[in-house]
């Protein structure tokens, strides 16, 4: 790291903040620092993802550890002058929870960060991911040095096995065990693949690890290569993550220059190279056999296992595939010891897990928590609860393969087994919070649509089964559900699970089955009462203007794309249901103070007051004041 300055600014440049204009902020900061003559006192570091993506663009000021969020270009001048020149932190830009009056100035005070335990993300927001020196200064590449100097491959495998590290990609297979199987194979060469084809919608941990700390993955890969006797590694990254690919390229180049990759690593006789392979947008490529086919240039369809890739993988050779997050754990386990690692977490699930906490929650972002923490702690303490005081409904984990966990199970701990028992799974770590405005039928439909599109089409059960599920769900959400649909969904879901070959098909009915288990009444409301309790399914709802509240401001009329609203200034507006497309724009533009537009469903639709003629707001008030 460069010499210590008086103040260090850690500006997050992960994809979320990047999208929010982090680089414009950096440019502006540089300009302002220059003009105040602070260039020599204040240093500026472009870090990887900080995790608190909902607050981006953001930065942390060291050594005071002050957190600034939602930065805008116009704030920079004021901020530099007040804080960095005059030493008065700017309250206005600090983190402000919805229900509090005073902001939290320090990063360590913010509840979002408080409960977290950083193992994998130990370097997030502290180092510049594009500088290997920063990583080395944080004890980086110490583990690989220890490994090649003083450990045999067998020692490494035993250490990892002892730590109890399990695959973070979803299934949770013991990493040490996988390495053991591959090392027993006689056939050479052996290959190692890091899987960063993070396809689950709503999950972005792997991307964040690559963007904020690419060297930890490289080091993990080297150690793994040493342990299984492989000299060639691949890292498979989704093409949707251009920034991660760029940073990985830089990191590999730097590691090669430092002799940490390539021939005779650190003077030993161990060689290891890493090549980046890009995906091209196919969800199924996250499945290991399909990923192998994709690298080979074959049709990326999964194949039957066994033989497992650890026995017969890439080009028919033994191949170990580990998730990126798993690999980032490896260097820490080596340096700090298996015993230290196995103390974190529960009996069966050791260590920490990164989740992307998103959806209807106040603090969206990336969190790393010890296994065994309860869902309640995550949602209410770290996540800060549900926005706008809405009611919590469910949390969806495990992406399209996982399920929904209802509020009654919020006290259950997060580990591989408990989540499975709840009908969901760990998956890669997406955690999508849903509030009362989310319709479970609609969400199930969304997931099945996803898996239906992404099914590679090899197994009939997955290809046609998802189609059949989708058809029924679409019908239910359109208000055409029939008696017996629920039984059909359950039965079909179970048989798809039984009949499919790879993980995609075996888990695709989970969103439907788990919501049927916990929210059966909502399905029944859709089918029997033709009612969507969450007011989402379009065919079952109506937009309605409450005559008691409408002030005749014309805003909704102007916004309506189908000209379905009639009325004049100061006259009560009426929605013509026949023309209404239910796009919801009128609801969006109706001023919150007035909020005259409401959504209604089911039998409520029949009890609405229908105006027979155009009437002025004044007259309506007069007529109804006394009645």
């Amino acid at each position: 790291m460069a010499e210590k300055r008086r103040i260090e600014l850690m500006v997050c440049t992960g994809t979320g903040c990047f999208a929010g204009g982090a680089f414009q902020i950096i440019e502006e900061l540089n300009k302002e620092l220059e003009s105040f003559g602070l260039k020599d006192e204040v240093s500026l570091v472009a870090t990887g993802c900080n995790g608190f993506c909902g607050q981006g663009p953001l930065m942390v000021v060291l050594p005071d550890n002050i957190f600034y969020g939602w930065l805008e270009k116009k704030d920079v001048h004021y901020l530099v002058e007040e804080h960095f020149l005059k030493g008065r932190p700017v309250k206005r830009l600090m983190f402000m929870p919805p229900d509090e009056k005073e902001p939290f100035p320090l990063l360590s005070d913010i509840p979002f960060f408080k409960k977290q335990l950083l193992v994998v993300l130990r370097n997030k927001g502290i180092i510049d991911p594009e500088k290997i020196e920063d990583y080395i200064a944080r004890d980086g590449y110490l583990a690989i040095e220890k490994v090649v100097a003083s450990m045999s491959p067998k020692d490494v495998r035993e250490e990892i096995l002892k730590s109890g590290l399990r695959g973070r990609g979803g299934a949770g297979f013991l990493t040490g065990k996988k390495w053991e199987i591959a090392s027993q194979q006689i056939k050479t060469p052996k290959y190692f693949i890091a899987n960063c084809d993070e396809g689950d919608p709503g999950a972005y941990m792997d991307r964040s690890v690559l963007e904020s700390d690419p060297h930890s993955v490289i080091e993990g890969m080297c150690i793994a290569g040493y342990a299984i006797g492989s000299n060639e590694g691949f890292i498979y990254v989704r093409t949707e993550y251009p920034l991660a690919i760029k940073r990985m390229r830089i990191a590999i180049k730097q590691a090669e220059e430092y002799g940490l990759l390539g021939r005779n690593i650190l003077g030993s006789d161990f060689d290891f190279t890493i090549e980046i392979r890009e995906g091209s947008g196919a969800f199924v490529c996250g499945e290991e056999t399909s990923l192998i086919h994709s690298i080979e240039g074959d049709i990326p369809e999964p194949r039957q296992r066994p033989p497992f890739p650890a026995q017969t993988g890439l080009w028919g050779c033994p191949t170990v595939i580990n998730n990126v997050e798993t690999l980032a754990n490896v260097p820490v386990i080596i340096t700090r010891g298996a015993e230290w690692f196995s103390k974190i977490g529960t009996e069966t699930s050791k260590g920490t897990k990164i989740f992307s906490l998103v959806g209807k929650i106040n603090n969206t972002g990336l969190i790393e928590v010890p296994m065994g923490i309860t869902l309640k702690e995550v949602v209410y303490e770290i996540g800060g609860g549900i926005p706008k005081g809405k009611k919590f409904k469910a949390v969806q984990t495990g992406g399209p393969s996982g399920g929904c966990i209802p509020s009654s199970m919020l006290d259950s701990p997060i580990d591989y087994e408990s989540l499975q028992k709840a009908g969901s799974m760990m998956g890669s770590g997406g955690m999508i919070v849903m509030d009362e405005d989310t319709c479970v039928v609609d969400v199930s439909k969304f997931f099945i649509q996803f898996t239906n599109e992404e099914s590679c089409g090899k197994c009939t059960s997955c290809r046609d089964g998802s189609e059949a599920l989708l058809e029924v769900l679409t019908r239910i959400s359109a208000g055409e559900g029939r008696e017996g649909d629920i039984d059909f969904l359950t039965e079909l879901g179970e048989s798809i699970k039984d009949a499919s070959m790879c993980g995609l098909g075996q888990t695709l009915p989970n969103p439907v089955l788990s919501t049927l288990r916990y929210f059966k009444d909502e399905y029944e409301a859709h089918i029997k009462e033709k009612k969507c309790p969450a007011l989402v399914c379009r065919n079952l709802i109506q937009y309605y203007i409450d005559p008691n509240k409408c002030v005749g401001c014309l805003l909704c009329i102007k916004s309506c794309p189908t000209e379905a609203i009639t009325g004049e200034s100061k006259f009560i507006h009426i929605i013509n249901q026949e023309n209404c497309h239910k796009c919801g724009q009128c609801l969006e533009v109706c001023p919150p103070k007035i909020s005259a537009i409401i959504k209604v469903t089911g039998s409520d639709m029949e009890n609405l007051v229908q105006l027979s003629e155009i009437i002025s707001c004044k007259e309506w008030k007069k007529n109804h004041e006394y009645s």
Binding site: T15, G16, A19, G20, F52, C53, G54, G56, E198, G199, D200, P201, G202, A203, Y204, R207, T239, E240, Y241, R277, E278, S280, G281, A282, F283, S294, I295, E296, G297, I299, P300, W315, S356, V358, G359, K360, T364, G365, Q396, G399, G430, I432, M434, V443, F446, F447, F450, C459, T460, S461, D464, G465, L492, S495, A499, S559, C583, G584, Q585, E588
Partner: protein, 303 residues
């Protein structure tokens, strides 16, 4: 019945192409209703793919149990004539009265006498040799030649070169011109059907030219629960194209993509390199206009 047909020029015979389970059943049904059937298949025997399956979805019935009775039935039906190792070349005439020209490949074995003992198969000295027919060399159009040959050269000696090659070609042209795919097939020895399957499997590849800017509306779960479905609809209405289509002026292609990893900013849409987080429907016309203006300025600057 047949007299009637004759009077309107229809002939009481039918041709079924393909002797899989569907073809066999069709042939049997037709024959049972008194029509003479010709069953054509390009394989040496009828039966199709089902013979290779263990069970069939969704009833988990044994495949062989389904098809074996039909095989036997067809074998002894006097009104079904099997023509195997043959392909349809042309059809002339109209429905009910047509002639078909078949290309029947030689079998070199007398079908009437063969008992299927398999002895000749195991004794044939040349059974693994393949006859190669010289094909005409495919040439690239000048506008593609330089880039494509360069890409091919770069990845030639690599293991598993196909994906990197396709990715770079796609990056260069935004889509795969047919001739380029044929050329890649010729140069890499991957079959054209294989390459086409790969090219159509991944969502970031396209066989049709796409617009200058891609509008990606994120349909990840986080964006979806925050209303990206409505965003997509609004884009589609404003641009007058459906998801996956390109506007007439070739400026925009609208796409629904899976998670772009900006879940903190949900709902998100991107136009080219510009990311629009926490997007509201009312902002859509504005950002489309903005990209159009940007495009105009770019064009002016280049002139």
């Amino acid at each position: 019945m047949f007299d009637d047909n004759k009077s309107n020029g229809k002939i009481g015979s039918a041709l079924v192409v393909g002797g899989g389970i569907g073809g066999m059943q069709a042939a049997l049904d037709l024959a049972e209703s008194g029509i003479k059937v010709y069953l054509v298949d390009n394989k040496p025997s009828i039966g199709g793919v089902m013979a290779q399956l263990d069970k069939t979805f969704p009833t988990n019935d044994c495949a062989m149990c389904t098809m074996a009775p039909r095989l036997v039935e067809i074998g002894r039906h006097k009104d079904i004539e099997k023509i195997t190792l043959s392909e349809v070349e042309s059809i002339t005439g109209q429905p009910g009265n047509f002639s078909v020209r078949l290309n029947k490949k030689p079998r070199y074995v007398d079908e009437k006498k063969c008992t299927g003992c398999g002895a000749c198969v195991s004794n044939c000295p040349t059974r693994n040799s393949v006859q190669i027919v010289e094909k005409e060399k495919i040439k690239l159009q000048p506008k593609y030649a330089e880039t494509v040959t360069e890409i091919l050269k770069k990845h030639q000696d690599r293991k598993g070169p196909l994906m990197p090659i396709l990715q770079e070609v796609n990056a260069a042209y935004n889509y795969f011109p047919e001739n380029v795919l044929r050329y890649i097939s010729q140069e890499t020895k991957y079959s054209l059907s294989h390459i086409t399957r790969i090219a159509t499997f991944y969502s970031s590849f396209s066989l049709k030219p796409i617009g200058k800017h891609t509008i990606n509306v994120c349909m990840g779960t986080a964006c979806y629960v925050r209303g990206s479905g409505i965003l997509l609809e609004q884009f589609s209405e404003k641009l007058n194209v459906k998801a996956g289509e390109t506007t007439e002026d070739m400026l925009f292609t609208l796409k629904a993509v899976r998670c772009i990893g900006c879940c903190g900013l949900a709902p998100v849409a991107t136009i080219g390199d510009d990311v629009y987080g926490k997007l509201q429907t009312k902002k859509i016309p504005e950002i489309i206009e903005k990209s159009k203006i940007k495009e105009l300025q770019y064009a002016q600057a280049n002139n």
